[in-house]
């Protein structure tokens, strides 16, 4: 039996990159949701939550159209000389970011809300600018939420299948990630390979969730004495 581990590394790379992008994009978005009094808030919150209820194939289908050569975004990326994103690793990152967005934004949003306005008001009366209040007070106090969001987004990206199949296809080394590889092995009746990869996924998921629980417990102890 020969077990090709390329999909494993590709998956880890995709999940790491997606999580990093989500930390940068999702944290300010969650902050905005927790602070704004705009009427757009509920609309934006709903859009963020949409991937939770939509079948991944629906998300993937529209992404394929939007990012393809005839879609508005695809036309833009082509004009910028970036080519089109479907069936590339970059396209997978875009799809994964959207698909895992709620898993990052919701815990972080909840963490920001749980802080309440008081610590931020205290910081303002101590001359802290809005940016300083975000960096010195909101982020450290929301750290457990950020960690939860990052772990969930990472794990969710690792387990992704439908969106990837729609916009990434099955190109070895480029878009053939773990879940797709398992599907392939099963299709080709390569049970042993499927077992190794699937079993590895179960172990990995178990360890991720366990680590998150343990860390969360420790942080609650430190944070609230």
């Amino acid at each position: 039996m020969s077990l090709d581990l390329t999909p494993v590394w590709l998956t880890l790379k995709l999940a790491t990159l997606t999580t990093a992008v989500l930390l940068v994009v999702g944290t300010p978005l969650a902050w905005w949701l927790s602070q704004t009094r705009s009427r757009l808030k509920q609309i934006v919150a709903t859009l963020v939550a949409l991937p939770l209820v939509l079948p991944p194939t629906v998300l993937g289908f529209y992404l394929l159209l939007l990012l393809g050569p005839h879609g508005p975004i695809g036309a833009l990326t082509e004009r910028l000389g970036l080519g089109t994103l479907p069936f590339t690793f970059a396209g997978l990152v875009v799809g994964s970011v959207l698909y895992s967005l709620p898993f990052m934004v919701q815990p972080v949003h909840n963490a920001f809300e749980a802080i309440g306005q008081r610590p931020l008001e205290v910081a303002a009366t101590l001359r802290a600018s809005p940016l300083a209040r975000f960096l010195d007070v909101a982020l450290p106090l929301a750290l457990p939420g950020l960690l939860t969001g990052a772990v969930l987004a990472f794990a969710h990206t690792v387990g992704e299948f439908g969106v990837i199949l729609m916009i990434g296809g099955n190109i070895p080394g480029e878009t053939k990630v773990l879940s797709v590889a398992i599907y392939d092995h099963v299709e080709s009746l390569e049970w042993a390979q499927a077992h190794w990869l699937a079993g590895g996924m179960v172990l990995f998921s178990f360890l991720v969730v366990l680590m998150m629980n343990l860390l969360g417990q420790r942080m609650r102890r430190i944070g609230h004495g």
């Binding site: 910081a123 101590l126 802290a128």
Partner: protein
């Protein structure tokens, strides 16, 4: 010319409206006094810029809000210190880091409040290395007060800083507040619904009712005005300012002259001619028609009845002017039975028997 805090705020929130304008001397402690929900905290939040009402807010020559010119300074640009009702220390920072949070944002040449002095005044030196989670409520509030002071504010805003504390912590922290009052030249706007606290701390009182300013004035006057609720409190008292005249080493007493009379107090550790503020509770004053000279009560002051207000069915509150000076006021809480038996009436000369005198500072 003394600095003035000039406020005008209007706010309408359906079930609550605020509409008040006042000029307060920016010196000593000015208390915003009123029932819960009367809007005093909202006034404080508007001064801090945490809430936005229509109107204006100026301290001396600095303008923080002026709707006429569209000016509204955000909270972090106002030179204020704010102490919240519940001690809101940052849980992720040590006590020392909490203190430094505001202090390090103030340029060194603008720091007028010394770290060591504040730490000493509030007695928090032993707490500096600790985490807020391990402190008692009273300790946390003392740290929060120090943290606010270390931004060298031009105005300190305190929102019922003792209300969330238990009785013991409250008793522990009051002397610290009184020391601040005496040692630092920072004007304080102090929100409270506790008449006892107000009498102990305030130089100036603003009485707020349902979002409106009912009355304002120097504390000694406001506390003894029978038409205001402060004088009708169970703990109602009069504030008198006097000067040490002499010590009597033989009996261990000190004589303090107040306008219109003098008081004998248990020996005070003060130099002759030093000023003393004393507080006399209405329930500790009784009225006699003539100087008995046969009583064990040390202080019997000649006084004139100015006015009377009935308190319930059995008691009356009597406003007295000490000696012949109208500004030296005392309150006496006596039974209606005595009032009628002695045929007391306004304008009458009587003797006020003072059972207890508390020295304020």
């Amino acid at each position: 010319m003394a600095d003035v805090l000039d406020l005008a705020f209007r706010l309408d929130r359906g079930d609550f409206s605020l509409d008040l304008a006042c000029r307060v001397p920016a010196r000593g402690v000015s208390a915003l006094f009123g029932r819960s929900g009367c809007g005093k905290t909202t006034v404080l939040r508007c001064v801090a810029g945490l809430e936005r009402a229509a109107g204006h807010c100026r301290l001396a020559d600095a303008c923080w809000q002026d709707d006429a010119s569209g000016r509204f300074l955000p909270t972090h640009r106002r030179p204020i210190g704010y102490v919240f009702q519940e001690p809101s220390l940052f849980p992720h920072r040590s006590v020392r880091a909490n203190l430094d949070y505001g202090r390090r944002r103030i340029p060194a040449r603008e720091r007028r409040v010394d770290l060591d002095e504040v730490v000493e005044l509030l007695g928090i030196a032993p707490l500096l290395g600790r985490d807020p989670a391990g402190l008692s409520g009273g300790e946390r509030q003392r740290v929060a007060i120090a943290r606010a002071l270390l931004t060298s504010p031009r105005l300190l805003l305190m929102d019922e800083p003792l209300a969330a504390l238990d009785h013991t912590s409250k008793r522990d922290i009051l002397p610290y507040l009184e020391r601040l009052h005496d040692h630092l030249q920072i004007p304080v706007l102090y929100v409270s619904h506790d008449p006892d606290e107000v009498a102990r701390l305030a130089d100036h009182i603003l009485l707020i009712e349902a979002g409106r300013l009912r009355a304002a004035g120097p504390a000694p006057q406001m506390l003894t005005r029978l038409d205001l609720p402060l004088a009708r409190e169970e703990t109602a008292s009069a504030l008198l300012s006097g000067r040490v005249r002499a010590h009597d080493p033989c009996y261990g007493l000190t004589r303090v002259a107040i306008p219109g009379a003098s008081l004998m107090l248990e020996r005070l550790d003060r130099a002759v001619d030093e000023t003393v503020r004393v507080r006399i509770h209405a329930r500790d004053v009784s009225i006699a028609l003539d100087d008995p000279g046969t009583s064990s009560i040390l202080n019997v002051l000649p006084a004139r009845i100015v006015e009377m207000h009935p308190l319930g069915a059995s008691q009356v509150l009597v406003g007295l002017a000490v000696g012949t000076t109208p500004e030296s006021r005392l309150l006496a809480r006596i039974t209606r039975h005595s009032w009628e038996r002695l045929r007391l009436h306004p304008g009458q000369q009587v003797h006020a028997q003072v059972k207890a005198v508390a020295v304020m500072d």
